[in-house]
Symmetry: C2
Amino acid sequence: MAIEKLNQIEVDGWECRKLPPQLTRRFDFGSYSQTRSFLDDLADLSEAIGNYPNLHFAKEFVTVTISAADDGPLQESEVEFATQVNDLAAKYS
Amino acid sequence: MAIEKLNQIEVDGWECRKLPPQLTRRFDFGSYSQTRSFLDDLADLSEAIGNYPNLHFAKEFVTVTISAADDGPLQESEVEFATQVNDLAAKYS
């Protein structure tokens, strides 16, 4: 189901951008090994559901940016993906 | 040895920026598994030498940005690191 009105979208901790429609969030970690472990978990999730978000990271942070498919409106699946990423990160907080 | 004059720096395939002093290069891959494998090799190298570059990636590209330590001039060690990253990527071309 496409989420027509972007301002309806709220995912805990994520910023919802409009042009282009994206969900973005920065995750901070206590060590590089935690960053690596989170990235591994996220890579497994990406391969499992076929969604490859834009990732920007260095030693102890990862910024995840989920874009709408084909620059359309954000879908329920993308909101679900953001929630799943929150669950992965919760292991480290 | 600090490399005072940035325009002396040339590393095959890398762009040398001045403010702040950085070396940056985009690497493209044929599959997500190659991207993951390159990122794993790079993470091992980062941990081995204690240099954690800024990485931006998605399914089939990785952009690596190596910054000078403490915003000083680029050092020989950073140029060497960029060369080592080239060697890692050569496995996939």
